[in-house]
């Protein structure tokens, strides 16, 4: 029956994730990754793999925990809240389900136990987490190929978000192994888009929590700044956008999990909305923190940078608005993959 609330299992998962990440994805861990060579924290990645989190949404008969996209959204929201660095999202939410969708179960299995990393290539000029990958899923002429890292020229790219970097890649179209038709992974990309939105919601919530604490104690002109109406109204708008983003992310996760008619639409709706809202909310957190929010040592900028990064991944606002319009006005099967000539990468 219609129930938008997390169930008991989901609440438990959320608590467990928050508990783990508050100890393991600490400010020190995140900053160390941000300032480090590759933006990664291998220890954190290994621990999450050991907890089975990479395989959270993988069926039990394929070595996973057998949960669904909604649970993955719950987990990723917490990763977003704690700004967890590294390639967890791309492997857990794109590469593993893509490999499984293509029937490459052995390759999936090597990724889900944390031993191997695979990057999913949409735009070869900008492959998220490509610098950390052992092999690459690429699309050539409508077919998906898996290419080993040794056959790919990888140029690491630093980005605005030190904990989420990328690479440009070059490869021969004949390299690697043909895994199947690209249509098999289309719904994977929609599902991943929904989950990325949940991660963004985590960052928005953290930004809101931080600034809410701050405005209650910071005084100016003899009053806590949270008593000034312009600040109050800004925070009200931040709450509105954060909650609406949460509704959108979870709706999309559920719709994609259950194969609803509006699965593709809901993913585009969520990504278009949240890609707008997340940079705004996290940016307002910097603004309302004032000078202190402009310092490197304060966490506010981590969330702003992550939001800015994520807004451009898996299709930006313009792409997903156009796709939502196309899905609404055209024949669905034609429209599902396209953004009216705009590209997702």
């Amino acid at each position: 029956m219609m129930d938008f609330r997390p169930n008991e299992d989901q609440i438990q998962l959320q608590k467990a994730a928050a508990d783990f990440l508050s100890k393991e994805s600490t400010k020190e861990v995140v900053f160390a990754a941000f300032d480090g060579q590759d933006g990664d924290s291998p220890e954190l990645y290994k621990k999450m793999a050991d907890l089975g989190w990479l395989a959270l949404a993988v069926p039990e008969d394929k070595g996973g925990l057998g949960m669904g996209l909604v649970e993955q959204a719950v987990l990723l929201e917490q990763l977003g809240y704690y700004a967890a660095p590294g390639a967890f999202f791309t492997n857990a939410c794109i590469s593993i389900p893509a490999l499984l969708a293509l029937g490459a179960n052995d390759e999936a299995s090597a990724v889900l136990d944390g031993g191997k990393k695979v990057a999913f290539v949409i735009d070869p000029e900008f492959v998220i987490d490509g610098h950390l990958a052992d092999s690459f899923l690429v699309t050539v002429n409508g077919r998906v190929r898996l290419i080993g890292g040794s056959d790919v020229e990888v140029k690491p790219l630093e980005t605005i978000d030190g904990t989420r970097r990328a690479a440009s890649v070059e490869f021969s179209e004949q390299a690697g192994e043909d895994l199947g038709d690209v249509h098999a992974v289309e719904s994977v990309v929609d599902a991943a888009t929904a989950i990325l939105c949940a991660e963004m919601v985590g960052g928005m919530q953290k930004s809101l929590d931080m600034v809410l604490d701050y405005v209650k104690v910071r005084t100016q002109f003899g009053r806590p700044i949270g008593s000034f109406q312009s600040i109050k109204h800004r925070l009200a708008d931040m709450l509105l956008k954060t909650e609406a983003s949460r509704s959108a992310a979870y709706y999309a996760a559920w719709a994609n999990q259950s194969g609803a008619d509006d699965a593709a639409l809901s993913a585009s709706v969520a990504k278009a909305y949240v890609s707008d809202a997340a940079p705004w909310v996290t940016g307002q957190s910097i603004q309302l923190h004032g000078g202190i929010g402009f310092t490197w040592e304060h966490e506010a900028h981590l969330y702003f940078k992550r939001a800015t990064m994520n807004a451009a991944l898996l299709g930006d606002v313009a792409f997903h608005r156009e796709r939502a319009l196309t899905l609404t006005t055209s024949d669905r099967s034609e429209a599902a993959s396209g953004g009216g000539g705009r590209s997702r990468g």
């Binding site: 029956m1 219609m2 609330r5 989901q10 925070l235 709450l239 608005r321």
Partner: protein, 403 residues
């Protein structure tokens, strides 16, 4: 989390849809009075078939429908573009109030005629000097024997010129604190001393009226609940109003976007149709996205209500979302349609531009009535986020924006 509808829900939805497809009138008369009469007939028909107030208990003519069924009903009603109920205020606000706080005589006397639209009701809450400060009510009701004597003025009274009855908030104890001297009275609009003057709005329509009371005598029997307890009584019903209507609102607003898509395909500008213009497409895509998000948010709020939560101050988020949405959407609609979208002459073309002008203008009211967006943000900041209250001039004990 599980957003699927049960088989029972689906069957109920199908039943509603089927009924409305078979019965809802299309193409109502344009003339305002004729239009009103046609809609009154439609409500009468609905009442006969038991489809007016399905959330009311069966003993009062409803179906004892669950909140979720009511939500489904409202959504289908809006999707079918069925005419607005002429007695929506009676059905949505007065009825639930009487059932919760009225005495048996009052329930027997009024409820049935609410459903059948035999008696039309209007709401008498707003006053010229109150605005968003709703409790600043000045209309006085003084007890004189067995009757209250009313003097004062109400404003923004929907259906004011058609109404037979008004449920009104009036001040019965001027010396009490602001929220504690107010009573809830049922006023016969045909009583001597009641004058309803149509109020012309910026749209050129007169959807609202000003109502003046000069020594209007109201029997004490028309008091709902206890004297001076009117504020609390009124507040319980406002919550319900806000809970069950959100999904229907999302359908209504989405219908507007679909209409705009249709009209944009008819208007040629810049060498292509307005719909093919990339800037227009981006804007339309934006509003489709935002209205879907509003739908999800509303589903989430309803789910909380269904499972025993209360609407609470989160209703303010809902109000801001749709009213600001509507204002900005209609602004973009004007941009997209260009000069032809500003024409109000009927025969000017193949789009209903008069409708767009009216909607553009009417949307300006959404962020004002039932608590301005500014007040709603106060409520969210203070009651949801726990931020310090605004210093205020009248009394330190009440909450900013309380209503």
């Amino acid at each position: 989390m599980d957003l699927s509808w049960t088989e029972e829900d689906k069957a109920f939805r199908a039943e509603v849809r089927k009924y409305l497809e078979a019965n809802a009138p299309k193409d109502l008369p344009e003339d305002e009075t004729a239009n009103f009469e046609a809609r009154r007939q439609w409500q009468k028909k609905l009442a006969e078939d038991g489809w007016v107030a399905i959330h009311w208990p069966e003993e009062f003519g409803g179906r004892g429908a669950s909140l979720l069924q009511t939500v489904i009903y409202n959504e289908e009603y809006t999707r079918a573009r069925a005419p607005l109920l002429v007695n929506s205020l009676g059905v949505g606000l007065l009825g639930p109030t009487l059932m919760a706080h009225g005495n048996d005589e009052q329930k027997q006397r009024y409820l049935k005629k609410v459903l059948s639209a035999e008696e039309i009701w209007c709401q008498g809450f707003s006053e010229p000097n109150a605005g968003s400060d709703l409790a600043a009510i000045q209309t006085r009701a003084e007890l004189d024997g067995d009757e209250y004597v009313l003097n004062g003025q109400k404003i923004w009274t929907s259906y004011g010129k058609y109404a037979d009855w008004m449920f009104a908030l009036v001040r019965t104890d001027p010396s009490a604190p602001k929220h504690q001297g107010i009573s809830y009275l049922l006023v016969d609009m045909h009583s001597p001393g009641v004058e309803a003057r149509p109020l012309k709005e910026i749209t050129g329509d007169s959807l609202f009226a000003e109502v003046f009371f000069s020594d209007v005598r109201v029997p004490k029997a028309n008091l709902v609940g206890e004297q001076n307890d009117g504020w609390r009584i009124a507040m319980t019903t406002l919550g319900f109003e806000r809970g069950a209507g959100g999904l229907a609102q999302s359908v209504r607003l989405r219908n507007s976007v679909l209409d705009l898509i249709g009209d944009a395909q008819q208007v040629r500008r810049n060498g292509w149709t307005a719909f093919d213009d990339p800037l227009s497409r981006n804007k339309i895509g934006k509003w489709l996205v935002e209205i879907e998000v509003y739908r999800y948010t509303t589903l989430r709020a309803i789910s909380a209500l269904v499972h025993g939560g209360s609407p609470g101050p989160e209703a303010s988020i809902n109000k801001i979302f749709w009213s600001e949405w509507h204002k900005s959407f209609t602004e973009d609609a004007m941009d997209i349609l260009g000069p032809l979208g500003r024409v109000t002459t009927d025969e000017s073309g193949n789009i209903d531009s008069q409708r767009w002008v009216r909607e553009y203008l009417f949307a300006r009211a959404g962020t004002i009535y039932a608590g301005t967006s500014e007040i709603q943000r106060n409520i969210i900041a203070e009651r949801v986020l726990g931020l310090p209250k605004e210093p205020r001039g009248d009394t330190k004990t009440e909450k900013a924006g309380e209503r």
